[in-house]
């Protein structure tokens, strides 16, 4: 693959990225809206363009099990899933992180049943928020392509050894044709050298993975995971910096747009950041001092960067894409409120849940959310969350 800019479906570009990353094993089961990635990878392997094992499994539970097995022998391993597939995978998804297996997943974000829905929101990923995976959210096709490489680089770092999920919005990204710059294979090979695990499954040097842990050891095992994901942070920064130095495209845990002098900001994750920036541009023309704060790195949560970006603002309007039923607010807003609690200069948070299961959130909707949110903050109406666009 040479360095080239092409108009291509984002899923296909992601599959191409996985091939360029020279993976050894793909264990995957097709599910909408991730299907094109897996189909295209299956083709690439069948055509002999990539020397890898494509394991077509009977379910997502098996897909993640295959991934655990292959990563455990030190093979570069990829999978992709969505929604119900992730739910079925959940048991092994947790185990992958606990066993510190550097699997990379393209997680095409989709709602969970029921009602049955194939469309996009963030309900699926929020279900596995606490599994111990590193979670990156991307906004467009280029970011999706790029972050396959950064994800492998982060996951396989000897000091990290954790699985990484690249979250990208179902349909809004998976099925969109976008201009994407491909990097040449030499650049990729330089950025992503072969990796070596300290302990692998090998008959010459037997080890036991995923052992039974009594109450006397479970707490210590969990602390090791907590320490690992926190310490992954500087490696993530470095991986993004080096990717930027190679390609000119830099990524940061928290990204802002016109927020420096803003009184208030809208906070987004994923593809909605693009719409938010456009709407902020037009509101700025009307004199509104508004900006955008985008959370790219969800786990490990970038506490300091987030605080630095928002302390001193009056209001944050947080856009969630999932409900925490009976909870204090949407999952993102709840965490941000917690991150700001008792901090001097903390903005108040107004929380909207919008765009559930693919319901379109237009520029006009963003405008309404931003202006209504600002007005509500002015009235002190900041409890809980509001389901935007709800009838009745």
């Amino acid at each position: 693959m040479a360095k080239v800019r092409k108009g291509i479906e984002v899923s296909i570009a992601m599959a191409d990225a996985v091939a360029q990353a020279n993976v050894d094993v793909i264990g995957a089961y097709p599910i909408t809206p991730q299907t094109h990635i897996v189909e295209h990878l299956s083709e690439i392997v069948a055509n002999g363009e990539l020397d890898a094992e494509f394991v077509p499994v009977d379910s997502e539970h098996s897909a993640m099990s295959v991934c655990c097995g292959s990563a455990a022998v030190g093979a570069r391993t990829f999978t992709s899933t969505s929604s119900q597939g992730l739910a079925l995978m959940a048991e092994i998804f947790y185990i992958a992180a606990a066993m510190r297996l550097p699997i990379v997943m393209a997680l095409a974000n989709r709602s969970l049943s029921s009602p049955l829905s194939i469309w996009n929101d963030h309900t699926d990923t929020m279900m596995v928020r606490d599994a111990g995976w590193i979670h990156i959210f991307v906004e467009n096709g280029q970011e999706s392509y790029d972050n396959i490489f950064t994800a492998f680089r982060i996951a396989e770092d000897a000091g990290v050894m954790l699985p990484v999920a690249v979250n990208f919005d179902g349909f809004i990204l998976t099925h969109m044709i976008e201009p994407i710059e491909y990097e040449d294979n030499d650049t990729i090979a330089k950025y992503l050298p072969a990796f070596k695990m300290k302990n692998t499954l090998h008959p010459d040097n037997p080890v036991s993975m995923g052992c039974f842990g009594m109450p006397e050891i479970y707490t210590e095992a969990q602390m090791q995971r907590e320490d690992a994901i926190r310490k992954a942070y500087p490696t993530i920064i470095k991986a993004w910096k080096e990717w930027g130095d190679l390609t000119g495209r830099y990524y940061h845990p928290v990204e802002t747009y016109r927020s420096e002098d803003a009184d208030y900001c809208i906070v987004t994750m994923g593809s909605y950041g693009e719409t938010a920036m456009e709407v902020v541009d037009s509101l700025r023309e009307e004199g509104e001092k508004v900006g955008v704060v985008k959370i790219r790195l969800w786990r490990p949560f970038p506490m300091e960067e987030f605080r630095k970006a928002v302390l001193g603002k009056k209001t944050l309007i947080v856009l969630d894409r999932a409900i925490s039923f009976g909870g204090p607010g949407g999952p993102v807003a709840s965490e941000l409120r917690s991150a700001l609690y008792n901090k001097e200069g903390a903005p108040v948070i107004v929380n909207y849940v919008a765009g559930l299961a693919g319901r379109d959130v237009s520029r006009n909707d963003f405008r309404n959310i931003i202006l209504e949110g600002k007005a509500r903050a002015g009235k002190g109406d900041t409890e809980g969350f509001t389901l935007y666009g709800l009838r009745g």
Binding site: A98, M99, S208, C211, E216, I217, E220, A221, M223, Q224
Partner: protein, 97 residues
Amino acid sequence: MAKPMEQIKWQELEVGSVVIEVGNAKVYETGTWRSEKPVVNKEQCIKCGVCWLFCPDGCIVRAPEGHFEADLTYCKGCAICAKECPVGCITMISEEE
């Protein structure tokens, strides 16, 4: 042999809590779990080894006389041996007695 697990600090665990020492289940004395112990009637025992085969913990050993007995350091008292013995020569006796 590995440290007893209640002495291991979290920093000392291998990445992913991988156990790199082969056969270290030996240091974990599961005999403390037991509420009943299997007692073999040596007269009745036909030395067939069915108990040895079925024991899920592999804690049954052959005595020099040829019959089989549980190693009480590891025997959890599950009673599978007593259930499977074709001549019924294994009796479960409460540890309290």
